[in-house]
Every structure is written in C-alpha cells, then in structure tokens.
C-alpha cells in the first residue's frame, strides 16, 4: 500500500509542473494477490504491485492524455509534458466539458489490515479445505481466491482532491464430476468475513445434485434465476441502457422513453456508490461525488447516469458521479447497482412453480439487439427442472435468447438480496432472485 500522503505528493508534483489551462491527475495503486486452483491443486499463484498515473491536460478546447507506471520525479514531469504536447496536436473540440469543481466527498472506511496482509499460506489453507472437501466426494474443484488493496486518488487544478482505499477478498469455485458441475462465490471487505468453506459446500452440493443430467427441449419456460443470473441481466441493462451517452446517442432502450413504462410494475433499480453492499467508492474517475440515482421506478424509466461530458450536453443536467476515466467513447455507466427485492422467499418462488427451470448462473452472455436489450447466453453449473413446486432432476444446459425488459415484465422477485461481483473490476450488483414466466430458451447443448 502506497498511502494517501505519497499519492498526494505525486499529484501535487504533476499539478505544479502543469502549464495547461486545466490538468487532472488520476492515480491507481494496487497490491493484488490471487491463488488459482484447478484439478484439485493450486496451479497459478500470483501477486502484483503496481501504480499508474494518468494525466489529462486541457488547453482551450484541446485535450491530451498520457499515462505511465513510473513514479520517479523526472518521469512524472515528462508525463505532464507529454500530455500537454499531445493536447497541442489536437483540433479544437467545442464539446469539451471543463474539469469539475471541488465538492465535499464522503469518506468510506473500506480498508481491512488482515485482508491487505493476507499471506499466500493462508489463501492456500482455505483453498486446501475446499479441495479436500471436494476430493472426499469424488469431485474436482477449480476456482480462485484473491485478496487485494486498491487505492485511487484524483486531483485537478481546480482543487479537486479525492482519495479512497479499499480491500477486497473474493473466492469463487466450480466443483465438477464427470457429468456435472456446481458453482458458488462470495466477496468481503474483510477476509475474516469470507466463509470460504461455505462457498465450497454450496458448490459441492450443486455438483452432486446435478449428476446425470437429462436433456429438455428448448422453448418458453418459467425460470427461477438465482442472484448470479439476475445480476448478469442487471449489468447488461446498465451497460446497454442506463448510461447518459447511450441515451443521448439513441443506443439505449431509454432513448425517447424516459418517463414511460418499459418493464414490470415491481421493478425498481438504482445505483448507489456509497452502498456498502456493493463495492463502495464515494467518487467517480473525475473526483465527483457519487449520487444515488434512481434509474427505474415501478417499471418506469426514470434517469440515466452522467459524467461531466454528457451532463454538459443536456440543459439542466449535472454529473451524477458516474464517469469512467476521461475522455472515453463509452460514456458513464452505473457500477453499484441495487434492485429492490420482492415479498416471497426463494423457496416460495420454487414451491409456487408447477413446472419450470432453475438456473444457477449464465455463461458467455452478449447482446443480440442492444436497443431492445435482447441477450443470448448459456446456463451453467447447476441447471435443474422444477416439477410440482420442487427441484426434481438436473438438466443439460440450455441457450437463452431473451429481452431483459420483457423478462422483467413477468418477474416475481425474492425477498432477500445478495451481492454479486460481476468479474469486471469493481462492478457489483445487489439483487434478489427472480421467478420469470415465458423465458425463451432457443437451443441446447450436449452436457
């Protein structure tokens, strides 16, 4: 861990050397370790110490960006010069937004010393227990157990100075037999709060229960989607539709439909960067405080998220604190999504289903029709048939091709929420499980 004082020193050095009208310094530092296991042994066990400094120089309407992971004084000074030189080659960009002014940023205590100092031996011990439990059942475990410290500091020539430090421990595992697999995962800010043995038990249980799967014809089925599958759908809603730039460019299902009903009455979704059930960070990559933003309320498309650039393109808009490192062509996206739960337990969702399919998670999901939010992907690691309110037998995996909005129009949500990390940086969603009628399975595979 580098610490706020040293990161601030680097930022101040860059800002003091800057000659541009406006300058922004974005620094990310990390100490990350990951123990990866497969075939009941550790096969990749890695650690990384890195820091990156990114300078954005704006002179007039011209912007230049340069980055490096060399933090020696001479290199930082050269980096500032490089960004300013690049800016000088630019054509005038009248659409450019000025850098944000300083605002009060809340501090979030997200650091845990035990996680930051977690040793490879401790990770190996936890992994070893999962491997042993799998072996006892004649199963093979794979997965990864990571612990890391991430620091972010953003400063600009207008006085913005925002710093956040957080730790994270993650474990995920897929446990397999010759013809089945089970999945489980968990995350915690404090490694002591991560019950790795429980994660192993859930995956082992599913791997045992999904043995000898049988095929079922594709078609429209009632599904019970576990939280991991729901979070995938929510992530794609955010990626495809909730960003201000996507809305402005007509790429979003919300383009031209703000204030209109676009899905079911019971669907309310917001983004909250300070919600500790997600991976909380109080500011975005411009140093703007993250605002809780209601994206969809009772099925009505409410708001998109904004960064400085997209906010400046619309009258009356201000940044909601959802910028990615600027400038970029993707625009802002929500990364701390929360979906309001329903009233029934997950067990009640199952017991109220006469015939349906239980889905643990999806695999390799991609958009087929972005504006209609139609996705395709496979089921994976625990797919079961539900008959007469009970899980009756395991199924071979299926391909779905389905509009998220149409699916959520027929969804009953469970009354509890689980946080799911989405595998891309610090993206996380806090979601319930869902029962959805008429979910379209369009193909099947051989296992």
């Amino acid at each position: 861990m580098v610490g706020k004082a040293r990161l601030k020193e680097i930022a101040e050095l860059a800002l003091s050397a800057a000659r541009a009208d406006q300058t922004e310094v974005l620094i990310n530092a990390q100490d990350a370790a990951l123990t990866r296991f497969a075939a009941n042994a550790i096969h990749q066990n890695v650690s990384e110490t890195d820091i990156s400094v990114r300078i954005r120089s704006i002179t007039g309407n011209k912007v230049g960006v340069a980055s490096s992971n060399d933090i020696q004084e001479a290199s930082i000074l050269k980096l500032v010069q490089k960004a300013e030189t690049i800016a000088s080659f630019q054509q005038e960009n009248p659409g450019i937004a000025p850098l944000p002014e300083p605002q009060t940023v809340a501090e979030i205590d997200a650091y845990d010393a035990a996680t930051a100092e977690c040793s490879p031996a401790r990770r190996a011990e936890s992994v070893g227990a999962v491997l042993e439990a799998s072996r006892e059942q004649g199963l093979v475990a794979s997965g990864a157990f990571s612990t890391d410290v991430q620091e972010t500091l953003i400063a600009n020539s207008k006085g913005v100075l925002a710093y956040h430090c957080g730790t994270m421990a993650d474990m995920m595992t897929v446990v397999m037999s010759d013809d089945s697999s089970g999945y489980a995962a968990g995350s915690a800010q404090n490694v002591d709060d991560l019950d790795t043995a429980a994660i192993g038990r859930i995956a082992i249980d599913k791997a045992i229960r999904s043995r000898e799967p049988t095929a079922i014809d594709p078609g429209a089925y009632t599904v019970i989607l576990e939280e991991d599958a729901v979070s995938t759908m929510l992530f794609f809603l955010g990626y495809l539709g909730f960003g201000g730039l996507a809305v402005q460019e007509g790429r979003s299902f919300m383009s031209g439909h703000l204030g209109e009903k676009v899905t079911g009455d019971n669907i309310t979704i917001w983004d909250d960067g300070t919600d500790s059930r997600t991976v909380a960070i109080p500011f975005d990559f411009e140093g703007v405080p993250k605002q809780k933003t209601l994206l969809m309320e009772n099925g009505v498309a409410c708001n998109a998220v904004y960064d400085s650039f997209t906010a400046a393109r619309e009258a009356g808009k201000t940044s909601t604190g959802h910028a990615l490192p600027q400038p970029n062509t993707m625009g802002p996206i929500p990364i701390n999504l929360v979906m309001q739960p329903g009233e029934l337990s997950k067990e009640e969702l199952i017991s109220s289903t006469e015939r349906g399919i239980f889905v643990t998670r999806f695999h390799y999901v991609n958009p087929v029709h972005p504006v209609k939010a139609i996705l395709t992907g496979m089921t994976r690691d625990g797919t079961f048939l539900i008959e007469n309110g009970k899980i009756s037998r395991p199924l071979k995996n299926l391909r779905f091709t389905q509009s998220i909005l149409e699916a959520f129009a027929h969804a009953v949500l469970s009354n509890d929420q689980t946080t799911v990390k989405l595998g891309f940086g610090n993206l996380a969603a806090c979601v319930p499980a869902a029962k959805i009628e008429g979910f379209q399975f369009t193909g099947a595979t051989e296992f």
């Binding site: 497969a38 990384e48 193909g443 051989e446």
Partner: protein, 487 residues
C-alpha cells in the same frame, strides 16, 4: 538488463527454486479515436515492469512489480518462491515442464514504417477523412474511427540458460458507423468489428486498408439496414465472410484446442473443452476439406512472435488435418502431461504460452489459428448455392463452456437465391454445435480471398488477461445451419 535477470534467477534459486524465469516488459500504446468529427481520445500510455515465475517444492509461484531495482528484484524473487511454497502445501504431484529450452536470440517484428515515427497530424488527417466520408451519408448518427499502435519490448531469461530479447510491433485501424431508427440501431464496421483490425506490422498496414476509401460504403450499408427486412428463421445453407469466419474459428476451434482448458485449469472461469485427450488424433472435427493450422509465423498475423513467454520458439502446428483433430496448443507443462497418455504426442511445447504484460503469468493463448484456403472463388461459391444466406462481419457472439453450442450475430446479411445474391436482411443470427457445423463445411474460397484477421480482445484467465490473436480465413460455405432465431 542482464544484471537484473541474473540477480533475479540467482535469488530465486538461492531461496529454493528449482526453475525460474523472469520477463522484463515495456509496452508503449498510442490510441486515437475520432468520433463524429471530433478527436475523442488521443493518448500515449507507457507501462513497464517485471514478473518472476518459479517452481519451488514442485509447485508454481509468480510475483511481479513495476519498480525495476536490484532491491525490488530480490524482494519479488523471494516473494515468488514463498508463493510457490504455499502452492506446494496442497499439491497433488510435482510440476513437470519437459526437456529444457535454452535459446539466446533477438526477434523483431518485420515492418516498413515505424508508426511511432509517423506524425500525429498525418494520423488525424486519415481518421478525419474517413469520418467525413462516413458522415457524408445521410442517416448516419455515429461515426467512430480509430487507430492503435503497440510496441512491446521484452526480455526473457531463465535458469535453463535462455536470454531472449523481442520487440513486437502492432498497428491497427477501424471505423464503425451507426444508423439509429425507432427502437433500432444498425452498425457496419470496416475492416472488421471489435473497433479495429490489427496486425503485427508498421504504418504500411494502415495505408493498405484505406479507411477513407471504404468508410462511405460502410455508412451506406448501415443506413440501408434500418429498412431491410428481418433475417428469416430457417435451416439453410450459410456462407460466411472472412471476418465472421475468423471469429467462428477463434471460438469453436481456437479455444477448445487450448490444452490448459482441456486439463481443467480454466474450468472455473472460461470453461473446459469438448476436445478431451481421448479424441486426440481420432476425432472427426469437420469435413474432409477442413484444415486448420496454428502458427506464430504468418506475416502481419496478430498472433505472430519469435518466442512465447516460456521462451519456446514460435512455430507452426497442424490442428485439424483433412477434418481430423490432430493437435493442441500446448505449454511445456501441458505437453509433458499429454505425453503421459499419448506417447506419440510431441515432446516439446509448440510455443503458445503468452502473458498479458509483465504482471500476468503466461497461459496458453492462440497464436494465428487459421483455416487453410480452398479452391473456389466467392462468385463461384454463390453461383453454386441455390438457397441460403450470406453473412458478413460479427456483431454478437456466445458459446458454451465446452465450446459446443454457439450463436453468432452478424452486422450484414444477404439472401442467396438461385446462385445470386438477393435482398439485404438485418439482425441475422446463426447457431449450431461445433463438430456438426464444421462437418457441414463443403466449400472454402481460395487463397486470393484469404486474409489473416486480428482479434485484439480475447479474454481468459484470472486475474483477467487480454490476448491478441490472428485467424486466417477465406469465405466458406456450411450446409444445414439454423439461421435467424430473432423475431
């Protein structure tokens, strides 16, 4: 660099490593994007560091840092050994990496014009010209053109005596144009999707593909797609263009032949493979005309290099020969493992271990996995097709975790009727099961239509790694394919 590499290897061995290697890597990236007439991004990124990989107590360890000093080298070497010893606490058997590899060599990507020496003005002018052409077409809402350049210099040294220096150079370019209608967005990309087409080459690659000269056609097609009818749903004959076929090869052949996947080391993330070891040399992957080769030596191929990140020479290997599955992509460890059950398998790795920078451990990655050309022209192929669909340029992709059931969507498609191209159709998709699909391949265009396409966004591994891979393809025809699932 030798003073650093020798120190790293000495410290690792002194701490108990029985094998160690170090990679010192610098990456310089230049990225330029022009969107709707405005330079959206113009950035120079520099990244430097080293990673040390060791075997100690019969298990792997890896540690890395961005600070190249003697003190940090010693700390990281010791840390790698500590990590390896932790791995050994739960090992099933000792790691074996086969016969030693000792090479002292220098490799540089062949190129004519160093793209980092070409002025920013020239690059911006080229992109602005393409942007203007595209937005000159009424109905275009978004035009985004880009160039990207990468120079990677890396030094590899091992306790087996290797000392290899490489300088790899990549140049890439592309334009994507989007037309937006009510509830509809259609896009066309040139020369390929995923933002850009990329190769191991200099700035001559940019000139060869002539972005300004092709932007207008892409824009016209995007606008025309808005009013085109939906792709029909049926089982029919499918013709794929080179870029779409490149992704088909990547997903349904390139990934399942990665021997680490086959042995389950990617099971929890990317998945495993249907091409299990008992199928090696005995399984019919496709029809007799399907021949697939994996190589690291195709000129301009995005998967071309001198040595992989285990210090094994880049080479060429048969993967599918006359339709039969005959080869995997291997590492030193997995090649050794395969030999235990298949004594006829090659003794040495075929050199496909690559790491995404200094801070990642090498894993098996595709180099240039290419479908060999056939003997007809595209015109002849279409003329010989009574009823079917011709699909071009990938838009959507998905495949199951053993690489059997796939579904792809393309940007553009045309009906084929009685040997002629018919009307344009939109939102085209097709789906299938890998061996059945390749079993239905009955024609491949000749070498005049063959090109090696770059895929710069191949994800794998934990922590995540992105690899740059190449795929040589010419248009090909497949019988009895389910197309057009979307209503």
């Amino acid at each position: 660099m030798r003073e650093y590499t020798e120190r790293a290897l000495d410290v690792a061995q002194g701490k108990g490593a029985t094998y160690a290697d170090i990679r010192i890597v610098r990456r310089e990236n230049q990225n330029i994007t022009v969107k709707n007439g405005v330079v959206q991004t113009l950035s120079l990124d520099d990244d430097f560091g080293f990673g040390i990989r060791v075997i100690a107590d019969g298990a792997w360890g890896f540690a890395s840092s961005n600070r190249l000093t003697q003190e940090e080298i010693e700390r990281i070497a010791a840390q790698a050994v500590t990590i390896a010893k932790a791995s050994a606490l739960v090992k099933q058997h000792d790691v074996e990496i086969g016969p030693p590899e000792a090479h002292v060599d220098i490799y540089k990507t062949p190129f004519e014009v160093d793209p980092f020496e070409v002025s920013l003005e020239d690059k911006l002018d080229e992109l602005a010209a393409a942007d203007k052409e595209a937005r000159g077409v009424a109905g275009i809402a978004i035009a985004e053109s880009s160039m990207g350049f990468l120079r990677e210099t890396k030094t590899f040294a091992s306790t087996e005596g290797s000392f290899i220096e490489q300088e790899l150079l990549e140049s890439g370019l592309g334009i994507v144009v989007r037309a937006v209608g009510e509830g509809e967005m259609q896009q066309r990309s040139y020369p390929n999707s995923f933002g850009r087409h990329q190769g191991t080459a200099g700035y001559e690659f940019i000139k060869q593909w002539d972005l300004p000269g092709n932007a207008r056609q892409a824009a016209e097609e995007a606008v025309a797609l808005l009013s085109a009818p939906q792709c029909p749903s049926k089982t029919t004959t499918l013709i794929l263009d080179g870029p779409q076929l490149a992704l088909q090869v990547h997903e349904s052949c390139g990934h399942p032949i990665e021997l680490d996947r086959v042995y389950g080391t990617e099971a929890a993330y990317a998945g495993t493979s249907f091409l299990t070891p008992e199928k090696f040399g005995t399984f019919r992957y496709g029809s007799d005309i399907v021949n697939i080769v994996a190589d690291a030596v195709t000129p301009t191929g995005l998967g071309s290099y001198g040595y992989d990140d285990e210090g094994v020479p880049g080479q060429s290997a048969d993967i599918v020969k006359n339709g039969m599955f005959v080869g995997y992509l291997t590492s030193r460890e997995s090649a050794s493992q395969l030999r235990k059950t298949h004594p006829d398998a090659p003794e040495r790795s075929n050199g496909t271990m690559r790491a995404d920078g200094w801070n990642r451990v090498p894993i098996i990655r595709m180099n240039n996995v290419s479908l060999q050309p056939g003997d007809c022209t595209l015109d002849e192929m279409i003329a010989d097709t009574k009823d079917g669909i011709y699909m071009l340029t990938n838009k959507s992709w998905s495949i199951d975790d053993k690489r059997l059931n796939f579904q792809f969507g393309t940007e553009l498609a045309y009906e084929v009727k009685d040997g002629k191209l018919g009307q344009m159709v939109k939102n085209a998709t097709y789906t299938g099961i890998t061996p059945q699909f390749w079993g239905g391949c009955d024609a491949i265009c000749n070498r005049d239509h063959w090109n090696v396409w770059g895929t710069p966004n191949c994800g794998k591994g934990q922590p995540g790694q992105t690899a740059h891979t190449g795929h040589g393809t010419a248009p090909a025809r497949f019988r009895n394919v389910q197309v057009g699932l979307m209503q």
